[in-house]
Subunit: 380 residues, 2 copies
């Protein structure tokens, strides 16, 4: 385990344009930034042993409050000694507030000033979550970085709906801050909302900064808008966030999204893409995105990438991965998830090194050239 | 990798009553007997990395000819360098003949003197498998121990049906032997049939022994009959099998089945039980069979068995396993499969040591006492 700190703190070690590399100190170890956080939805990074996740270079994983509050349940988790102990992950854990997944997964959801009321997708039971209860649950889980409850609007949306959700999220941020109180070893992050409306994004960012939180997330992106809109929103918000605090782009993204966002000053990411894609036969590699279900791989004895230090990527043939995917074998999901997370972590490590050496633009260009070259060789 | 031999050979190192311990030499390494062979149905021991299977002490795995001939296909497998290379298993592999799974999985199957005709459960295509084609396929797969094509009758069955299937299986054994020819590094095993009719079993065994094969399996058991019938059939057949050749009880069984059969002179086993149970929330342990789906485990922070050398068994809490099983998480299947195979391999290692020391009966009694004690503590 890496060095630990008593107080949550962020230090920037190098800058390259808007990009930064550094580390977040927590009582459970340091997080090297820019960081990609594998998603451990229900207390497990799907199809991975926790030791594997750590060995790939992940310093922190994400847990989903919505899933965990329903199963095993927040109070039960606390009785079991918290999520770290249950899932055997001794590094830091970030939890979302539950709000986003209430919107996307539960039935009969209702939002009002007090919070959200929803029906569980597991057993149909009704739950109410206020900003205060979200923070309470995240505390019971034992989360190191907690997120405010927010309302996230799917794009495209009417400006009035975006405006209303942004203002509600701001009021909830204040209530979450009060509920969170003083916890030097842990952090509460605010979430900038405002959809694709620049002035609302700026207003949200400024108001949140006024609350003096320990980090700021940009939420409500990667919800259906083009990449250009997402990048424009990052560029809009970035100048209004304090330089010395971590910036977290929620739910993003593809390898290219990560590089573009890092170049625009983002420090933290989470996304189900590498793990979900791995369960659906898709590999993210140095040679681009490869669909192992495709018949062209049936007799291809090459590995995904012979130069990778991940055994899933370098030692198993594409023919075998194709066979496993076509046969719906669990090992296919295990190997592709492992390989994808390895690629994501290698990409982050590559960006951190490149920023340190002031050559992020070159790194991005070389990486994209590698994808394009391999894709041209593969043909359409 | 363990020592290898040019010729397939079996050596018995110690006896304890009818039980024996020894090793089978193959060109891909030795197999310590009594041996449990994890089932790698479609070229993967489900939910396990091959390195894990090896590390648990498995010397050999089983591949299913029926599955492999349909996907990826026998000729394709040969072009890919054989199953060992494809699945990254450098130890010996045993393949069944495909006959049993044609009966249990495929539609529109038809048996005649020439062989079996059946429709694939994967894509509905029609296939014909003769005894000669079964051996050809097992050769293309690269199997080290190949099984004759046989007809297996589900019990209870009419004596005339059992008799007919046994005689057809004998004629097919001769044809398989001719097709197999002389392959010193590999082995063809015959399969004793005859259902639950002692005189048919004896006739089958004697006729097969007349073919001077390198090993003999007992087939058509664990197909619905009580354990007592299965054990009686082993006792009936055993005296008619040559002492110096390996005996393989196909498709068996529970930990208790394994102990009872070893005590009656069986050297090799395969069964989907530990792997299939692992995917359905069931653990086989030193403390008996534990259903992790049961609510009693929801807040039980004890591991399955703190004394196990398998991390899945000793390091993860029952509460976590319960949570994973209830949430249909892949990691639950991974951990329980790993733990179950570890227990099965530990049980075989325990029996081998006990036979060497002439205390198999004590080992069996102690093992069953351990299960009973834990089950009594758990209550109904």
């Amino acid at each position: 385990m890496s060095e630990t700190a008593e107080n949550f703190a962020f230090a920037i070690h190098a800058r390259d344009g808007a990009a930064r590399t550094g580390q977040i100190a927590t009582s459970r170890g340091h997080i090297r930034t820019p960081a990609f956080m594998p998603v451990g939805t229900a207390g497990t990074v799907k199809a991975m042993y926790p030791e594997q996740v750590r060995a790939l270079g992940a310093d922190i994983v994400l847990g989903n409050t919505y899933h965990l509050m329903l199963r095993p349940g927040a109070e039960r988790l606390a009785r079991l000694g918290g999520l770290h102990r249950l899932m055997r992950w001794d590094g830091p854990i970030l939890t979302d507030s539950g709000g986003f997944q209430v919107m996307s997964l539960s039935a009969l959801r209702k939002i009002d000033e007090a919070g959200v009321t929803f029906r569980s997708h597991v057993d149909g039971s009704t739950h109410h979550m206020s900003p205060e209860r979200s923070i309470e649950i995240q505390g019971l889980i034992g989360s190191d970085i907690q997120m405010q409850l927010d309302e996230c609007v799917r794009l495209p949306a009417e400006r009035t709906a975006i405006d209303k959700a942004m203002r509600l999220s701001l009021r909830w941020a204040e209530r979450c801050r009060t509920a969170f109180g003083e916890q030097p070893a842990k952090a509460l992050f605010g979430i900038v909302q405002g959809g694709d409306v620049p002035e609302l994004r700026i207003e949200s960012a400024r108001a949140l900064v006024g609350l003096d939180l320990k980090g700021y997330a940009i939420g409500g992106l990667a919800v259906g808008e083009p990449q250009a809109v997402m990048l424009a929103m990052i560029e809009t918000v970035e100048p209004h966030l304090p330089a010395g605090k971590p910036r977290y782009l929620m739910g993003v993204g593809t390898p290219d999204d990560l590089m573009q966002a890092v170049a625009r000053g983002i420090d933290m990411f989470d996304c189900v893409m590498p793990t979900r894609a791995g369960r659906h036969g898709l590999a993210y590699t140095r040679h681009g995105r490869i669909n192992l279900r495709n018949a062209r791989h049936a007799e291809d004895i090459r590995p995904l990438d012979e130069a990778s230090s991940c055994e899933a990527t370098s030692a198993y043939s594409r023919a075998y991965l194709h066979h496993l995917v076509r046969s719906d074998e669990i090992l296919g999901m295990m190997l592709l998830t492992w390989s994808n997370l390895a690629y994501y972590q290698a990409l982050m490590a590559g960006m951190r090194a490149a920023i340190s050496e002031g050559r992020l633009a070159d790194f991005v260009a070389e990486t994209k050239e590698g994808w394009a070259r391999a894709e041209a060789e593969r043909g359409p």
